[in-house]
Symmetry: C2
Subunit: 274 residues, 2 copies
């Protein structure tokens, strides 16, 4: 089987930074999974004894707590500080930015619109910094929005698509006198997407590696499926199925922003042996 | 000839206000034509002795100067104030708003983009209130723009089309971290346009009344021409040609935002007699 890697894939700046930070705090624990990749979480536990708190109440005084790349809600951070825990903030700087924007714009009496998934930890954290905050995925959701203020500011979940963000922003511009648009979408995601799009056009089978609950990995899989019907999303080499590669010559590989290189390498090695 | 008027046409709020103001200052003079309609300027001269300055140097101490609906550049206003002239500000409040926005945003170190015609008096005045101001009609003009600051604020000439404004704003949002969008486009223009669009679909001939140098009248004419090939732009009843109405049954009428009712009435009367 011939293999080709996308020209851009895998870990983004924020994830690399979080893992480097975590590795330097042996015996610490993260507040929620550090990144959206179970195998990497397991490696950090095995190699560095980095644990995982499932709830705030588990944190004890003098614990070393690592805040995940997606950030945590404002009140959770406040409670951690009250516990006198040592806090290592591994929130991606590109996620800290919308948190600060939401805080500042709320202080200036803007109503806020977040383009993102209401249930995503990044969005929950960003939302927590505001006063009148509305989370939407579609412009139609704004038709029934009841804004507290007459000026609107907008931010986007870092992994969302720019085209849809523009749709949401345009709806607001036509309706409100001032719309303050902050482009908080991260280019790293889109570099991986553009590379996956190109590669999926030329291969017979496409393997997308990443967490099945990772928003950006799922988007990579969707993009690849548009061009290559045999596109498969897997988390590790154990999920590979021989039948996917029957009568195929060229296999493309890409990986989500939370996928470590060692997982990709294991998969590459296994496919080479097929 | 059967006649039908558009459901919305003619004078907007700002023009009505300016004429009412002017009529209350007999023997005054305006700095540039008060509105884009020569016949109305003539009427104000005949009935109220309201003159016209062609340049600032013509203004003498103790003169009463009326500032036109489009506003005047900041430095012109400063010079008028130095002359100790009595200043009557008939700038449309919807035009004063973008002037103030450009001033405030420049103070806050935003680079400014005005969507409008560089040569239009309204745009010249709005531009004069800023520091780093770029006037464009197309997104492509922004590709070579060299902004002084990293935050961008945008305003639009009040009579421009919203769709094109969104194109310009969207180009900026994808390229800059913050774009502060002020929707300064005036709905009055678009109410006239929507009504003209509807009416031009059902008539055999369409008469668009207004100044030939009036931006919003020209747009009305363009819109009508899309639906009714026999659409004619005239400034007064003398320009009507009998041949336009040969074999026609229904004539539609609309008028630009600077067209007074008495001019429309003269044209209606003449067409009725055809």
């Amino acid at each position: 089987m011939q293999l080709k890697l996308a020209s851009s894939y895998g870990f983004c700046f924020g994830v690399k930074r979080a893992i480097t930070l975590a590795e330097s705090y042996t015996n610490s624990a993260t507040m929620g999974p550090l990144i959206h990749n179970q195998d990497e979480i397991t490696r950090l536990k095995t190699d560095y004894n980095i644990g995982l708190y499932s709830k705030l109440e588990d944190v004890k005084n003098d614990d070393t707590v690592i805040i995940r790349t997606h950030g945590i809600p404002k009140n959770d951070l406040k409670q951690l500080k009250q516990k006198d825990a040592k806090i290592i903030n591994a929130t991606c700087p590109f996620v800290t930015t919308p948190q600060q924007i939401v805080k500042k714009m709320s202080e200036k009496k803007y109503s806020l619109v977040i383009f993102g998934d209401e249930s995503h930890p990044e969005v929950k954290a960003v939302k927590s910094y505001g006063d009148d905050v509305h989370v939407v995925l579609e412009p139609s959701q704004l038709e029934i929005a009841n804004f507290k203020y007459d000026k609107i500011a907008t931010v986007a979940q870092t992994t969302k698509k720019k085209e849809k963000y523009l749709e949401i922003v345009n709806f607001l511009i036509l309706k409100y006198k001032e719309v303050r648009v902050f482009n908080t979408i991260c280019d790293a995601t889109f570099e991986n997407q553009a590379a996956a799009r190109e590669l999926s056009k030329e291969v017979d089978v496409m393997i997308v590696i990443g967490g099945k609950d990772s928003s950006n990995t799922k988007q990579l899989h969707n993009i690849c499926s548009e061009n290559c019907t045999d596109s498969f999303l897997i988390e590790n080499y154990k999920e590979l199925q021989n039948s996917w590669f029957n009568n195929k010559k060229l296999c493309g590989i890409t990986a989500g922003a939370s996928t470590p290189d060692w997982i990709i390498q294991e998969i590459v090695n296994k496919i080479k042996k097929l």
